[in-house]
């Protein structure tokens, strides 16, 4: 370990150590969570298993651990099964093999540990005997409230810095801009009509969409009658109109022109809108269907400047390192605070002279207004 640490990384290590080597460190994307893990590994000097949610992240961890410690690093997942004193695995593979792996490691590092409280991954954590555990995330809160399980699975939150704490210093300074667009008269009519059908069905069936079971109640009722199927189709139609309002797409064109010398990431809620944007503005797209080779070529093209923008639905929300991106455009998204913070995080890695800018396009007088308000409920957007 030769790389010098930033003060908050040392503080995070000290806090984790103070908690007897069990706990969650919360740092924003781009703040160097991986380095904190390397400090912890160096500090404990125990066999270590790093768990990450995707193969992309496994590859990134493999490179970092090899370069940092100069020892063989094992990989489990994506067809590989190699166990070394330092090993990286996907959560899925670790879950499958934990019976064989559970007693072989003294330290577990859970990257993007907000995935950990899911039933399967939690089981993997419970099946391991490692006394030392480090969770890393930028967004510890879960909508289902299961962040309370961190204590049992890897320890409590022992250190936390949010985007606002590090912005302008260790993270690029940033600005968020919310742009409201109007539907044209025809789209407005179609939207309101579809929304009326959906709302009418919900009201007639006494479904409370604000209750925790509201959505599943709606799905179950909707599947039982022609009326219900029409309501479901109407629900989807009004969302499609709001997500891909023509005025939004016009605005995307203006932003692409205005930021033609920047590096843009465009985020959508669905693949259909992402493909529509790619086709209309002739910009590369990354979805779950994109082959690995093309995906690497697109990201390299964005870094070197042969592409000015990339559109994606959800696959770049988390984890993947895109240091050159400085403008994000959220064309559409869910109500998830975590997703919105992670999308902002994609453009915050510090670079000399970099000023990051996040645009959020919202269609006025649709459910999207409410969705937007919910996902902005985070200190980074205040």
């Amino acid at each position: 370990m030769h790389r010098s640490s930033r003060p908050y990384q040392d503080e995070a290590l000290a806090a984790w150590r103070g908690a007897r080597g069990r706990g969650v460190v919360v740092l924003p994307t781009g703040a160097g969570k991986t380095h904190v893990a390397c400090l912890a590994i160096d500090d404990r000097r125990r066999s270590t298993l790093v768990l990450a949610p995707t193969l992309d992240l496994v590859r990134q961890w493999y490179d970092v651990l090899r370069a940092t410690f100069g020892v063989p690093v094992g990989v489990i997942g994506g067809g590989d099964y190699g166990v070394e004193a330092l090993t990286v695995s996907t959560y899925d593979s670790a879950y499958l093999h934990m019976e064989h792996l559970g007693d072989r490691f003294g330290l577990l590092v859970f990257d993007e540990c907000h995935h950990l409280p899911g039933p399967a991954y939690a089981l993997a954590a419970r099946a391991a005997v490692a006394p030392f555990r480090l969770g890393l995330t930028a967004t510890p809160e879960r909508a289902d409230g299961r962040h309370a399980d961190y204590d049992a699975l890897c320890g409590p939150i022992v250190y936390r810095k949010d985007i606002v704490d590090l912005s302008g210093g260790y993270l690029a300074p940033y600005e968020t801009v919310r742009l409201t667009v109007e539907l044209g008269p025809e789209d407005r009519r179609a939207h309101d009509e579809a929304r009326g059908v959906y709302r009418d069905f919900v009201a007639r069936n006494g479904i409370r969409m604000s209750s925790p079971s509201g959505w599943s109640d709606f799905i179950i009722r909707a599947s039982r009658s022609d009326d219900g199927r029409r309501a479901m189709a109407a629900y989807q139609r009004q969302r499609e109109i709001a997500f891909a309002a023509p005025a939004k797409l016009e605005y995307v064109g203006l932003l692409l022109d205005r930021h033609r010398d920047d590096r843009l990431l465009l985020f959508t809620q669905d693949n259909a809108t992402a493909y529509a944007l790619s086709r209309r503005f002739l910009i590369p797209i990354i979805t779950h269907e994109t082959r690995v080779r093309e995906r690497s070529e697109i990201l390299a093209g964005l870094a070197e400047g042969s592409y000015g923008a990339v559109v994606t639905s959800k696959v770049l929300n988390e984890g993947v390192d895109i240091p050159d991106a400085n403008v994000a455009v959220v064309v559409s998204g869910s109500a998830s605070v975590r997703e919105h913070v992670q999308r902002l995080g994609r453009i915050l890695r510090a670079r000399a002279g970099k000023h990051a800018l996040l645009y959020e396009l919202v269609t006025a007088n649709t459910a999207e207004t409410f969705t937007s308000a919910r996902r902005r409920d985070h200190s980074a957007y205040r």
Partner: protein, 437 residues
């Protein structure tokens, strides 16, 4: 092939149970299969996205009023129907190259001119390539799975799909198995020979033992007829053979669990083709991977031929290649393609792939190519040798199993050949000569 999430299985105590496969359920499956297959046939020539939409629509219409179990049943039948849809091959390289070229030019044009003239850009590139802008637009995402066109529908007839549905569900359960023990009983030598060859072809490396005592229930051993199941005639009982087959489950392996699981599932129709059969599997089920016991059995369940029960399997590719090379070479040995099964009472059964016979003196050496899933299975073969297998035998194991030839150095009449990528004629010949003496 179904996946575990499409199976309507229930926990009862320590057991995992499938719903009883009664006439009503089979009829429901057949109705769903017929409707979905017919709709798919109407969609030939359309894109995968269109076909998906059409199938979703049809399934939704059939599900109305149904409970959650019905929706899962519809999804499961939909999966089996989708497995039989054949789409045109994607032209990934051409589309990917077009995107790269077009998007790079667009980025450069936007940077240079401050705005993009889309039509001009497409027109220029189309001109250079001797095509039209519309053709470029059509080719831009032609490699997306959703853009592929349906060319044929090769789905089993609804009645056949319905009759094999229980086996399809059991196959999905076995994907979550740690250990499987099957017992099969049949009076027809060709049935168990087919079963053994299937297990060999799938490289499952089972431990097989012949059971000396007949089952309690074997007095009622049925005989399959074109019209159904009939009692076995007393004179046929003398020819009944009964075998116990133990196999590792996918969840007991360190690697390749997905592929192995698929192979294991493909063995089930061959097991179910026996006159009387049962399986008992230790499975891990649900998100919490709770250990449960799964049991199933029957009498000559007709299984869909497409899933591996029907035509005789040949050898695995690596073995066929080796045999062809061996027979081309001047070796002084002849290859027997269907050697006898070696039975060592009390220790187990060995099903060699080949027997080699030396021309000059008739010396015979059996040969078995071991699978590449589990080292444990190799050690079981070694135990068989040490228990006193009387015939001379050469085992071949892949280097990836991390076993050494020294394991059988002290054995009389047996040897282990570890190969790295392909079976070599010369090393096999050397082993044969040494064993034959």
């Amino acid at each position: 092939m179904l996946t575990a999430d499409l199976v309507t299985a229930r926990r009862r105590g320590g057991e995992l149970r499938l719903p009883p496969s009664d006439d009503a359920r089979r009829a429901r499956v057949a109705v769903l299969a017929a409707a979905l297959t017919a709709r798919a046939r109407e969609e030939i020539g359309r894109t995968r996205d269109d076909v998906e939409e059409a199938l979703r629509e049809t399934a939704a219409a059939l599900e109305i009023g149904g409970a959650a179990g019905d929706r899962r049943l519809a999804a499961a039948v939909g999966k089996l129907v989708r497995d039989g849809l054949r789409f045109e091959e994607a032209t990934a390289a051409a589309s990917s190259e077009l995107r790269r070229e077009l998007f790079r030019r667009a980025a450069a044009a936007r940077r240079a001119a401050g705005a993009l003239d889309r039509a001009a850009l497409l027109g220029a590139l189309a001109g250079e390539r001797g095509t039209t802008p519309d053709a470029l637009e059509a080719a831009l995402y032609a490699d997306r799975p959703g853009a592929q066109r349906l060319v044929s529908v090769e789905v089993l007839a609804p009645a056949l799909l319905a009759s094999g549905f229980e086996i399809a569900e059991a196959q999905a359960v076995l994907l979550r198995a740690e250990k499987i023990v099957a017992e099969v009983e049949t009076r027809e030598a060709r049935v168990w020979r087919h079963l053994f060859r299937t297990l060999k072809f799938l490289r499952l490396l089972p431990v097989i033992s012949r059971q000396r005592e007949p089952w309690e229930g074997s007095r009622a051993l049925p005989r399959r007829t074109p019209l159904g199941v009939a009692e076995l005639r007393p004179r046929d009982r003398a020819h009944v053979a009964r075998y116990r087959i133990e196999m590792d489950g996918p969840l007991s392996l360190f690697q390749g669990a997905g592929r192995y699981g698929l192979q294991l599932a493909l063995a089930l129709p061959a097991i179910a083709a026996c006159d009387v059969w049962s399986i008992e599997a230790d499975v891990r089920w649900g998100a919490d991977r709770r250990p449960l016991r799964f049991r199933m059995g029957g009498a000559g369940v007709p299984a869909p031929a497409r899933d591996g029960a029907g035509p005789d399997h040949g050898w695995p590719d690596e073995l066929a290649t080796f045999v062809a090379a061996f027979e081309r070479a001047e070796t002084g040995w002849r290859v027997e393609h269907e050697p006898a099964v070696l039975d060592l009472p009390g220790a187990g059964l060995c099903v060699p792939d080949l027997a080699f016979v030396r021309a000059r003196d008739g010396a015979r050496v059996y040969f078995e190519l071991l699978g590449f899933w589990s080292r444990e299975a190799v050690f079981r073969r070694i135990d068989l040798v040490r228990a006193g297998l009387p015939e001379k035998i050469l085992f071949a194991a892949s280097k990836s199993l991390r076993v050494g030839e020294a394991l059988l150095d002290d054995a009389q009449g047996a040897a282990l050949y570890v190969f790295s990528r392909v079976l070599g004629v010369r090393p096999v010949l050397e082993h044969l000569e040494r064993l034959a003496g």
